[in-house]
């Protein structure tokens, strides 16, 4: 069995993740911040340690500026809906996931101005195009760090410098890069970092968050929801301080316990080490696909310029059929279609049919890539060997 769907969620998880979750469920189980007994305090310590681990990984200014939520989508909604006001202008790219595009389009309908800067067919963004799009009322640059379709890395550090120069916020969607590529909020000038826990941070689903840089005044951020925080209980208004302002309701402590273990594993391995491993796999896959007749490769075609997420198509086969046959005939699991990113597929020229996407992670190896390439060659060869009228798509 070969799991190549790590861009959707990573699997398997490192040692310690399930154990941390089970430890909380079996031995602690209490609600953090809602009582003063020892178990509740210990639950609070677990949350705090998770914040510390995340802050360490991304060089965040303060663990208490790490606000947890369900996933990166929630974090992006918090940043976008919490900071953009009617009359503001936001700039984004043409390779964004719908977790950015849909909130931005909704805000556009409420009076926020939006510019979508086109990327190249390989998914590259020219920072000068960002700069050219800036208007007097621009307040935010919103960019994914890496495309979830073709893996292309966007010039985040350059965007950060532009944001500082013009007094804008830079919001980075790190869904595809957090844990897989080095991120430093300080040196990359990232003001808002949205991350998910269940991909390259190797935590469970249901964990993610938004980190606020020092330039972001929490007072300006409208929370997505309001409610009980365990603090300032005498008030009927939301507490103004972080992380409580953004964390109403009982948090998903089991998931966050697992997230801490996942992040600690990433820190122990070293992001650079993971990056080198995944880059080797990606380059092997890219070269193999490029040499396969009938295969069209999308994206940079250069592992140093992308994550280990690689998109391709096989001539004459729908992506959905490729995915089904890889699953049923070869035990290879990947994701096909539009990957919730219609804009990215329009940019690379694969809308509406989509692509086959292999998302590799830290637990994949070269032998799996070799096996997968053999499967792709067999599928591509099979198509070409069939009389055209027999093809099931016709």
């Amino acid at each position: 069995m070969i799991y190549f769907d790590n861009a959707a969620t990573s699997w398997p998880k490192p040692p310690g993740v399930v154990e941390a979750m089970a430890h909380f469920m079996n031995d602690i189980g209490a609600n953090p911040g809602r009582a003063g007994h020892r178990l509740a305090v210990e639950a609070g310590r677990i949350l705090y340690r998770a914040r510390e681990a995340v802050a360490e990984l991304f060089h965040a200014p303060d663990p208490l500026r790490v606000t947890f939520g369900q996933n990166v989508t929630e974090a992006l909604n918090l940043a976008l809906r919490g900071l953009l006001r009617p009359g503001d202008h936001a700039i984004t790219s043409s390779v964004e996931h719908n977790s950015v595009m849909r909130p931005l389009r909704a805000l556009e309908g409420q009076g926020v101005e939006l510019t979508v800067v086109p990327c190249s067919p390989q998914g590259f963004l020219d920072p000068h195009d960002l700069e050219k799009a800036i208007r007097p009322n621009t307040t935010m640059l919103v960019l994914n760090h890496a495309s979830n379709v073709v893996g292309t890395l966007l010039p985040i550090a350059e965007a950060g410098r532009i944001a500082r120069q013009y007094g804008l916020f830079l919001l980075v969607d790190a869904a595809q890069s957090a844990g897989a590529y080095p991120i430093d909020m300080q040196s990359d000038c990232i003001d808002l970092l949205a991350f998910t826990g269940h991909k390259s941070l190797y935590g469970p689903m249901g964990s993610g968050g938004l980190i606020l840089g020092e330039r972001v005044d929490p007072g300006r951020l409208e929370p997505l929801k309001r409610g009980g925080t365990g603090s300032r209980s005498e008030w009927e208004e939301q507490p103004p301080f972080l992380p409580d302002k953004c964390e109403s309701g009982t948090p998903n402590v089991p998931a966050l316990a697992g997230l801490e273990a996942g992040v600690r594993w990433v820190l122990q391995q070293g992001v650079e080490h993971i990056r080198q491993h995944e880059m080797q796999l990606a380059q092997q896959l890219i070269e193999g696909l490029r040499e396969t007749p009938g295969v069209t490769l999308y994206g940079p075609g250069d592992a140093s310029k992308q994550t280990a997420t690689v998109s391709f198509n096989i001539a004459g086969l729908e992506p959905s059929e490729v995915g089904l046959r890889l699953d049923e005939e070869y035990n290879i699991f990947c994701r096909v279609g539009l990957h919730c990113s219609p804009a990215a597929h329009k940019t690379i020229g694969t809308f509406p049919q989509g692509t086959v996407r292999f998302g590799m992670g830290a637990f994949n190896d070269a032998a799996q890539v070799t096996t997968a390439l053999q499967a792709i060659r067999a599928l591509a060869r099979g198509v070409h060997e069939q009389p055209i009228l027999c093809h099931p798509c016709l």
């Binding site: 953090p32 911040g33 809602r34 009582a35 003063g36 007994h37 509740a40 305090v41 609070g44 310590r45 949350l47 705090y48 914040r51 663990p63 208490l64 925080t229 365990g230 603090s231 300032r232 209980s233 005498e234 507490p239 301080f241 992380p243 409580d244």
Partner: protein, 74 residues
């Protein structure tokens, strides 16, 4: 009633846990306890420590930029 303890109230459980870390690193013994109702209606926790450690604790918290909400004898 002569209690040997005082409590330091901070704004939330997260800050109390941070305070606990700071005091432990500074060598000040403390314990997180529910905020006494006669001091605040907050349902969180606060730092309880020996009265003789109060100045050392406040100094350590100040050095770490953690401002207490209140400091009270028990």
């Amino acid at each position: 009633m002569n209690s040997p303890y005082c409590v330091i109230l901070v704004s939330s459980t997260s800050y109390a846990i941070r305070g606990e870390q700071i005091l432990h690193r500074a060598g000040v013994q403390c314990k997180l306890i529910p905020v006494p109702r006669h001091l605040s209606s907050d349902c969180g926790v606060c730092l309880r420590l020996a009265k003789e450690d109060r100045q050392a604790a406040l100094k350590a918290l100040e050095a770490a930029h953690l401002a207490p909400e209140a400091v009270c004898d028990l």
